[in-house]
């Protein structure tokens, strides 16, 4: 049964929270400034609790089960993270308090910067960007500023992006005013070096590399690609979305990446929140460090008396691209990521090892049931084709049918270079038993595709709603609650 909208529970005069009466004299309101109506719901606290609790029950999260959404690293979110972020000494800090009163918070940010530097092999880190895509934008702006300072800002306007890249890469480049040039992949899923070589000239601003790439493959041409781009004066941007494969395995900064964003909500276990908040800190090599977005946390050498009791302050990198957001970044997310890193230390390597072990194991279990377009050792994720030979069942159908088996579907139809792509990232926190159960469900769906294709093509059958008419949503735009008194928009003519 569908849950009504909270507006539909509204009864005139019903109250939720009551506030105290004013304990100061009331000041008159200025004339002609006030609004007449405030059309918010009028509901009780019980209405609110039951409504949102019921809504939550219509959701699927990692806490409910396996969520192998490729490139999103849906690992388990440790509960201690949540408690730590809610400590009053963190949650109740105002961002403009005198720095002397927030030394604990600054210390945490400083150490998180240091940890991320060490993990990525970079010279400096800024925690500012609010999400991976904002980290990307920041990184690209840094690359542009670097070229500008060398008198090449007008000339270097071309960003090279492999065709397997996340859609954010070209979108971020365009936002920074760069022209995007697609670089195809070769037959083994690597950057096509010949195509890259053809584009390497004095107009290249940089190359954006996701490694492991979105096929889940470690790029075998990585070092050559970096070398080619560096030789023509371009810089290397690393999309760190897939860092869960690399902690303690290799350090992008040591391999020639000039700038990279981390996704704290992927690699470092902070919850995805139904679409954020994330955090997208950026790491930079020596030559790009002066361009990092600010402010960043540093030790105040002048005011530090004893080395074991450092005084922290906020500083601006000398050639900073500026602010990417107000205040000091997603601090609540930093607390969670810090907690996670402190619980692992150097053993983060085991996290990446187990993530890669899980992915290769699941790939081995699915090979032979579904086509594998690039069949070699994978890293933390892999891509299969959602096709069952001899049937018209598609990746979408398989995804929907997985819901009936109690699983969240993989990422589908991405990367774009694989038709009917199913991109599967199990993460390290899943047990062999879970992977076996998922593989078994995938096997049974392939069987059903042959024996009872309708069952698969009309799935899901057990979810709160069945397949939804997305075309209708785009045609007849209903984007907010419309009271009965307001007409509903007519469907647009196509």
């Amino acid at each position: 049964m569908p849950e009504p909208l909270i507006f539909e529970y509204s009864v005139p005069g019903r109250r939720g929270v009551e506030m105290p009466e004013p304990d100061v004299p009331e000041a008159p309101f200025p004339e002609g400034f006030l609004r007449e109506d405030l059309p918010l719901p009028e509901v009780s606290e019980v209405d609110v609790v039951r409504h949102f609790l019921r809504l939550s029950q219509m959701n699927y999260g990692v806490d409910k089960g396996f969520y192998p959404l490729g490139s999103c690293t849906m690992k388990y979110n440790p509960k201690i993270n949540e408690e730590m972020a809610r400590l009053p000494g963190f949650a109740q800090l105002h961002p403009y308090q005198d720095l002397e009163t927030v030394q604990g918070a600054l210390a945490l940010m400083y150490h998180l910067q240091e940890f991320l530097k060490e993990i990525g092999g970079f010279a400096a880190v800024s925690l500012q960007p609010a999400a991976g895509s904002q980290g990307e934008l920041a990184g690209i702006l840094m690359i542009r500023a670097y070229h500008r300072d060398r008198g090449e800002g007008k000339k270097r306007i071309k960003m090279l992006i492999p065709d397997s890249a996340h859609g954010t890469n070209p979108a971020s480049s365009a936002m920074a005013g760069l022209r995007v040039v697609n670089i195809p992949s070769d037959r083994r899923g690597n950057i096509d070096l010949d195509a890259l070589r053809r584009e390497c000239d004095e107009t290249v601003a940089g190359l954006m590399i996701t490694n492991p790439n979105t096929l889940g493959l470690f790029d075998e041409n990585l070092m050559e690609a970096i070398e080619l781009v560096h030789r023509c004066g371009g810089l290397i941007y690393g999309d760190g979305a897939n860092m869960n494969a690399l902690m303690g395995i290799c350090k992008p900064g040591e391999m020639g990446f000039d700038v990279m964003h981390y996704n704290l909500h992927k690699t470092f276990s902070t919850p995805h929140g139904g679409g954020g908040p994330g955090a997208g800190p950026v790491g930079a090599s020596e030559r790009l460090a002066p361009y990092l977005p600010g402010p960043i946390v540093a030790i105040d050498r002048e005011r530090t008396v004893r080395p074991d009791e450092p005084v922290y302050t906020l500083v601006w990198p000398e050639r900073s691209i500026g602010r990417v957001r107000a205040f000091h970044g997603h601090f609540g997310v930093f607390v969670r990521a810090y907690t996670y890193i402190r619980m692992h230390g150097p053993r983060l390597r085991e996290v990446s090892e187990a993530a890669v072990l899980n992915a290769n194991y699941l790939l081995a279990r699915l090979r032979g049931i579904y086509p594998v377009p690039y069949d070699r050792l994978c890293k933390h994720e892999f891509v299969i084709m959602g096709r069952v030979p001899g049937t018209s069942v598609r990746a979408l159908d398989i995804s929907k049918r997985l819901m009936d088996y109690g699983f969240h579907p993989p990422t589908n139809y991405f990367p774009l270079i694989v038709p009917e792509a199913l991109m599967i990232e199990p993460t390290e926190t899943e047990s062999k038993a879970t992977l076996d159960a998922f593989a078994e469900a995938m096997r049974r769906i392939a069987e059903e595709a042959r024996s009872d294709p309708q069952r698969v093509q009309q799935a899901p059958h057990t979810t709160p709603v069945r397949r939804l008419d997305e075309a209708r949503a785009a045609r007849q735009l209903i984007l907010r609650y419309l009271p009965a008194s307001e007409p509903r928009p007519a469907p647009a003519q196509v």
């Binding site: 004013p22 100061v24 918070a105 895509s133 979108a171 936002m175 607390v335 090892e353 926190t429 709603v465």
Partner: protein
């Protein structure tokens, strides 16, 4: 290892199925020279130890629950009803991701649809997105949106000088390599900054065929609310010039004041943190963004729409995704994907449980307490309060001593976190403090601050 469930035996079995001998064999594709570098990180802690460490770090701070706080300046301390966190901590909400699969994400999707509806109700606009990172980045995106809506033919954007300084900084960052001129925001004298209606006229005089948008804060960074009737005229002038009017709002203020949709704003952005989100040292917060239906195809970010399922039941999906990066790549309206969904959920629950009545009560309490505080400070010798324009819950005070000095004495001797030092935002405003009062400040706290300011007074020596 904590959070990795494999036993040694399972690991062996998995390696056997893969067909390799040891874990290291899974990484032969990583260049050997770089493979398995040492990770120089502190040794792992157990949950109990990490709790001790984090508690010690938290206790090294002074927080707003300990000291009376009169800081605002874009981040506000408000009452957060207990139901919000209780519901936010449902694992089904916070351990889910972007609702790409609507059949198993109806909870998130419906809540986002309700969020969009409430933002429309507050702002008086027709459509809102499912959130942006924060108020500042929402403003930057609104500026980019206005540039697109004027087809890139108008390179000039007028920024009102008393928009939050960090928001203006973020706009600069976003447009630094685009063909855009930002004008109007700086170079004003103290006297001019004190006269917002004059500033408005000055900016209106700069509207021309090159102008893509005028951005107006409501209330402004100094707490002042421009008259809605006057802003209606501004909107007319902006539209006559073929430009767009962007408003930067505080959502709590909109419980009292005429919403921007009523006075002609085309795009409304703002910081949603006051709607049930903790201060948390500046983030994560909640970017709000709303516009008119005519502009919906240029609105960046996720948008949830209503539809029906196979059996005709009402349901919700992400819609208009052809605007977005995963489909349109370099032609997308924005690069945004992950936004701040959980913060938007917090605001939705907040607005539900406060409701029409509660939100008005909160806004009124803020207004009354700030005005009581302003009036009392105005009677102190040496202090001057800017009171000639209506303000919401923040106002400017000229102080008899440097603001930083007063603030230090306030927290060291009186356990009070004083106001924002406006000299940081604009040198013309040096010696001025921005004070904020909300429903969280009791009369006792307010009186204590006034008493302290009176005692601190002008510098004694000299």
């Amino acid at each position: 290892m904590r959070f990795i469930p494999h036993t040694e035996e399972e690991r062996r079995e998995m390696l056997r199925v893969i067909g390799v001998e040891r874990i290291g064999d899974l990484f032969v594709d990583v260049p050997e020279a770089y493979r398995f570098p040492p990770l120089n990180l502190p040794e792992p802690l157990t949950e109990l130890e990490v709790r001790w460490e984090l508690e010690a770090l938290a206790e090294a701070n002074i927080h707003t629950g300990q000291y009376a706080c009169f800081l605002g300046a874009g981040a506000y301390r408000h009452f957060i009803p207990a139901v919000i966190d209780e519901l936010l901590r449902r694992g089904e909400f916070y351990t889910a991701y972007t609702p790409y699969q609507p059949e198993v994400s109806q909870g998130t999707l419906q809540a986002m649809f309700e969020f969009q509806s409430m933002i429309c109700a507050l702002t008086g606009m027709e459509v809102a997105n499912a959130s942006h990172y924060d108020g500042s980045s929402a403003l930057a995106e609104a500026v980019l949106m206005a540039l697109r809506l004027t087809r890139g033919e108008r390179p000039k954007v007028l920024l009102f000088p008393t928009i939050h300084p960090e928001y203006r900084a973020v706009v600069h960052t976003y447009v630094q390599h685009l063909d855009v001129r930002l004008e109007g925001e700086s170079g004003w004298t103290l006297d001019q900054l004190r006269r917002p209606l004059l500033l408005l006229e000055e900016l209106e005089a700069r509207l021309d065929a090159e102008t893509a948008a005028l951005v107006i804060p409501y209330p402004d960074f100094l707490g002042r609310v421009l008259p809605p009737s006057r802003l209606r005229e501004t909107a007319d002038r902006v539209h006559q010039a073929g430009a767009l009017l962007i408003a930067v709002v505080n959502p709590i203020a909109l419980a009292l004041f005429e919403p921007p949709g009523n006075w002609g704003a085309d795009i409304v952005v703002g910081e949603g943190q006051p709607l049930g989100i903790p201060l948390s040292f500046g983030g994560p917060y909640l970017g709000i963004m709303a516009t008119r239906m005519a502009f919906v195809r240029q609105l960046p970010g996720r948008i949830v729409g209503e539809t029906v399922d196979l059996e005709g039941r009402r349901g919700y999906v992400l819609t208009l995704s052809t605007r977005e990066q995963h489909i349109r790549r370099e032609k997308a309206t924005s690069n945004i994907t992950t936004n701040v969904g959980l913060m938007a959920l917090a605001a939705t629950i907040y607005l539900s449980v406060m409701g029409k009545h509660g939100l008005r009560q909160v806004a009124s309490l803020c207004y009354h307490k700030a005005h009581y505080l302003a009036e009392r400070i105005a009677s102190l010798p040496g202090y001057e309060v800017w009171r000639e324009h209506p303000f919401f819950h923040e106002f400017v005070v000229r102080t008899p001593r440097p603001v930083a000095e007063i603030n230090r004495i306030l927290y060291e001797d009186y356990q009070i976190l004083g106001g924002y030092d406006l000299g940081q935002a604009d040198p013309a405003l040096a010696g001025h403090m921005l004070l904020c009062a909300t429903e969280m400040n009791t009369r006792e706290e307010v009186d204590a601050l006034v008493e302290a300011l009176g005692e601190i007074g002008p510098a004694r020596e000299g």
